[in-house]
Symmetry: D2
Subunit: 458 residues, 4 copies
């Protein structure tokens, strides 16, 4: 599988097109996304080789602290009954394989924390989707099914890696369950509605379906099945944006626009309410008209920039850290290994960055500048959020952030908008060369810059 | 002062017209309300006799548990400095009068809890305004001022009762302080803006000004001043209604309308936010258009009935209990005194209500029917909220409420909408005579019905 | 019934002796209190006349805001089944009497809030018991029983007021239920253990039983029953005191005594615990010896004064306000009625207190001096708690307290310890006459002093 | 440095004796522990080689996610001023070394999370101390001091690893600061009291001082200094045990012993409290005698086993996981690597444990059996807590625990008390061979057992 390295957003797009190949991204978003399932039968069993395997799962179980329920579920679905067999504590490999041999499915819940290729896949795709991209891997013994029919609250890309699995998809059962906000519970056979198709997925094949599509899948009798599900767009809808927007929009409207502060009509409580709903239709209609007018005024007060920044900060907290190649690391602080000439005497500690050094930010969507209060010394500052130092485990640590003086903000914005181009430190829109170099060193030392050439240390 | 007794809502209107006489209510709401101050000089010093007096205040201090800070404030405003002299505990009359003699103003904060005429005034007006009507009385020694210039968050009707006071009013200082949601702090002389007028209020005169108008007042050197301020419409604006409406409206829209559940565009986080606000104006405009469209869709989902009921329930919790005349009491459970024929043997205990008894609800706006879940025995019921048993102290007790079976709700609605007419029990829209009589007795025993004739007890 | 007026603590004792007459207080506390039930048959049906009656209950229902569940319970106990028939809201007299006529018992839960004699009874007894004295009245229709067998967590004095009731008492069922901390639930017939006696109480009779004694009572078929139960000593035991004492005692010991800060032995976790409890008996015994030694050291660190003050402050919050006679009121601020010579001109406002005025505190146990931090102006002060301004409804208002300068504390202590003697203001242990008079006026104005002679106002 | 491998508790003792060599443990605990500082000058600069070094610190900075404040502090102490120079986010090696070069001290706060030898040291010592053993490493540039004089709340063993540092120790300033519960703030020169000694520590030397000893240290001008401080016994005192014991002891005493439930004397509130503390000395003394008696009764009710289990569970949560050698791992589930014969086909998954297999628990003090309620299926179970699967980061995960059926508890206790001996599965005190083998496999699969011989997998 190809991991392009250039413009991170475009890299993400290319990787996505690899995922849906031979579909193009343009056609996919036009015809398929959030609208209908897509089955891609590629007749190329090794298409996704190197991404994940039962062998890799075994390595993870042997080497990593995989815990039941936290990282791994052991499940069965037999005779219409779904069961979870998780015990407490660490999932040691022999015990997990014993379950597997006895017909249990194994779900590894955040493989990106343990597997570098899956981390790389998620981190690359998230630059394209600009929202959290998650993953789960499912290992199913021959002839068994591990989960009951249900629907999810995410866009799902099922990539078959080993063996075969027979999938059955069903249409959303109603308009309200189309693109739903929350996943369903487990359904019984007579709750699942109209089948769309039943199809066997073999290694290298892909199945996409939007949130709300009920699905179930069963390993064929002759072989086990291993697939990874890539997911995104969980509560990333217009309604979710409005939930952030509305309260502040109304508060601002009340402050700015006296129409919102005028008193309600004296008879309002007599017009509305359960006991009045079939009285005075004309007065009610007039009142409703006023409400509609206020909604129009509200729409004018919307501050999407603030909501987008709040949303963007949350994304950066949810996000995987960028996957960096060795080459990239060597051009950043992440690869600046220091040695010791003798005990207590490090070899070097100064980054050789000057006006001619060519730099860019590490990823297009890995940082965000947000207005800030003054800092504790009462300097005017902006706050920068980023995901460069995120752990690979979701929300294991706090949001990553630092402050820079407000006068340096345009230079950082310049770098963000110039990406993917490298620019010289000297070209930063700041007054003095000293400021330019100092800012560059400071950002470099925080890990959010890479240089075009391998950095020297002094 | 006239306390009309007929149709409670109309009684409130008549009392309000007494308050603003010779203005009419119609003209007042057309020209003055929320727009400009109004000064009514009536040249009738005894116009409001019987409402409140220093003698009544003295009686209250002597007889009632008036507590500093809770019920009464002792204040001065001298040389631009506002001070509160409250001590702990009960305000005994001699101590309060000692303060007064030494130049302190006395504010009695909820006179309606201690004074029957003020209670009656507030309870009657609230039937007209359908929102909480409050009162404060202010007693000021000759030649002093008790409060700094400030503005309030309520509509204020200042009724001079004894002596004279010189009032100065100033325009709201800005659009944002026009009809403000929250009261101001104390202002200094150079913060208060443009004077509108300075005018002396004598007993019987009225001064009205909307929220946001800065004011200060000083007793003339030759006499003390006593006035009552009647207030209403605190946070009773369109914006306050929208605060209740918006969250549920959006939740309903997200559930009902798939447009709100569709995913945001992939590039949205790159279009908006502090660092992007001067980029891609066309894409931003298109996005904003979609937001405006969603606001229009939102306006269609508004459920004002639910919000009005929530608002109406809160009003009934805030409200004063109805002031009942002796005649009224004798036609309700409130006046059904029972005697004892011998120890342990009450004289009677059955209300003589039958199909021919003519009944009505106690006040037009003293109760409200709200849909409810099933009760604990799984009967389908509605919940009735009312203020008939409220204490005279604001929120001293919980909300007053009871449930009735859903099939009885139309009969109670019928009574509410028939008000002020009395109707026979037999005319209630219920199937059986037994149901009609039982419902009537049940409501009568809860205190929310009056009969046209004095009730007999058996 | 006699209400003595002299030394409040002695008044309480005399009233208590009236209650248990012909028993003496000394004999009662020696032989009966907390040990065994006592039945006093006085053959004097009018012994408690004037304390409470069904007529008074009827007056209360007619005039006061008595609420179901809050102030009044309607109950039945039939065929071994205990039911509560409370509805929502105010208990109007005709409705309550209708229940009564239909066989329901009526419990008025805090009659001292509505009845002056019951208030006076509780307030007087509490000066003797120095803990909250509560009351309930029970009205039972002929031939019925309102409550299931149970035991309570208070000392109970049942005073029959009207009619007759047959009581059955049972011994505590075990050592653990002797003087229990918490009341029992309702018992069935086979849970109640050994009967001590069954006895009919007639008007004027008294039944006492300690907490933990199971009891039930039934009105005789020929007449209703009314009794009042006086209760006290709810969680007022040595254990309750230790609960307050222990945490601070240990904290002080750890701060003061290094023995408590020394490290535990290395093997302690291997000596104790479920898995080790039958190992190393010698080492365990030695360890236990050390623990016993630390308990002895703890006992030396006990600060009962601090715990008693905490306890005493809570008592003053729980307590009924003193019941004052008209004569007493006229010698205190409570009776200092002010008149008006003309509107806004009070007749007087200065208490005529000088060095020769003879004063005492209102009640022996109605106030308590507690050390305090400095006040907001950084003066050294003590805090005084009192119950003089308490409402008659339990905990309806906050604790009543004020501060006085620390140098005045000895003068207030002097007054407390001189009680019941009146002393001249001049005899207060303060340096200047001005201080003496100012303190006396200040305390007088807070309502906690009475003068020997009726006070003049200037 | 020697890491013995045999009986874990004895291994800990041997390692501790290596730490204090040539002192013996017996002599140390008799003469030094918690009593006085000890300086061990060993004239053997490579005594602790392999434990930690600046080179190892550099490796950690280069490879691990070391975060400022969380894992690492950058500090200076100059001219009496202590400063922390931490920034946000990850501490990249070049940046840290730049600080160091500029005179800042570097404290790595939990080296056991990054360094295997330090982990092993702490994990081994904790088996001897049965309480959490912590570590910090301090790297100081030549001629500088990083911290102000202060005292700590732990027993401190300072082991010099590189360079030299001049230490000055001062006696605790008072009895109250002897063996204190909480660390001090930073002291100024005139607050630190009497110097005990000033002494230069060279590599291989050890300095021990009890909690409460004020100390400061400075690197000599000619070389940097690196040392590790091993700490333990933080709030592990008799007083801490009593804090756990007292509340339940009192509750039990109140339930069991009626003396605690008897009412307080009527005059108690008049005997005690600020205002009464110099009155009635005899009555007070008698009352105090009763309190002492109750304390004696309390001491008899103490349940140390329950407190020890609560304490022991907390220790197991605080504890480092055992450090296991490769040999040990190969005899436990931790070393049971599974391979794959082909994709989806693991090589084996059954532990070959039978009656003849010889087993023991992994460490003497790494697990604890605690009584438990019934489980969700209402089986009678005990709960087992352990630290075998703890992460190396303090409290990063929840407490590790599992349940076993109560009838298996004696077999697990048997194993715990037999340690360090291996016993055959067949010797477990259980009825059937099936039970014995099943329990052994179950415990083996949870990682708390090792076999004497390398385990085979089938």
């Amino acid at each position: 599988m190809p991991f392009p390295v250039g413009d991170s957003e475009n890299d993400g797009k290319e990787l996505f097109e690899w995922l849906i190949h031979p579909y193009t991204s343009h056609k996919f978003f036009k015809d398929i996304w959030e609208s209908r399932p897509l089955l891609v039968l590629r007749h190329c069993p090794r298409y996704a080789d190197g991404l994940f395997s039962t062998k890799e799962m075994n390595r993870i179980l042997n080497e990593c602290n995989v815990r039941y329920s936290v990282n791994l579920d052991v499940t069965t679905y037999q005779n219409g009954r779904r069961e979870t067999h998780n015990i407490d504590g660490r999932a040691y490999a022999p015990v997990v394989w014993d379950y597997f041999k006895n017909g249990c499915s194994i779900r590894l819940k955040n493989p990106q924390a343990f597997s570098k290729p899956v981390w790389r896949l998620c981190a690359t795709l998230q630059e394209f989707f600009k929202c959290m991209v998650g993953a789960n891997t499912y290992l199913t013994p021959p002839g068994t099914q591990g989960f009951a029919p249900h629907y999810d609250d995410i866009e799902a890309f099922v990539l078959q890696l080993e063996g075969k699995k027979e999938w059955t998809l069903y249409s959303p059962r109603s308009g309200k369950e189309t693109l739903p906000r929350y996943s369903s519970g487990n359904f019984t056979a007579d709750e699942i509605g109209d089948e769309i198709f039943t199809q066997t997925l073999e290694a290298g094949n892909l199945l996409y379906f939007p949130r709300g599509y009920i699905h179930q899948a069963k390993a064929l009798p002759d072989t086990h099945s291993l697939h990874v599900t890539i997911s995104m767009y969980q509560r990333n809808s217009w309604g979710d944006l409005l939930e952030k927007l509305l309260p502040t929009t109304l508060q601002n409207a009340i402050i700015d626009d006296v129409e919102f502060r005028k008193g309600l009509p004296l008879d309002y409580l007599s017009l509305f309410g359960e006991q009045n709903c079939d009285k005075h239709p004309d007065r009610r209609r007039a009142f409703m008209g006023k409400i509609s007018d206020l909604f129009r005024r509200l729409a004018d007060k919307v501050d999407i920039d603030a909501a987008a920044d709040e949303h963007g900060i949350n994304f950066l907290h949810d996000a995987m850290p960028p996957y960096m190649t060795q080459d990239e690391k060597s051009r950043s602080i992440h690869g600046c290994d220091v040695g010791m000439t003798s005990p207590g005497t490090p070899t070097h500690y100064i980054c050789d960055i000057d006006e001619k050094t060519r730099i860019r930010v590490l990823r297009k969507n890995a940082l965000r500048i947000v207005a800030s209060q003054n800092d504790t010394n009462d300097n005017s500052v902006v706050q920068v959020f980023h995901c460069v130092q995120n752990p690979r485990v979701y929300h294991q640590e706090e949001k990553k952030t630092f402050e820079i003086l407000r006068q340096f903000a345009p230079a950082l914005e310049f770098l963000i908008h110039k990406y993917p181009c490298y620019v010289t430190v000297g070209s930063l829109p700041l007054d003095s060369n000293e400021d330019k170099v100092n800012l560059a060193i400071s950002l470099f030392e925080k890990g959010i810059l890479v240089t075009e050439e391998k950095i020297k240390m002094l």
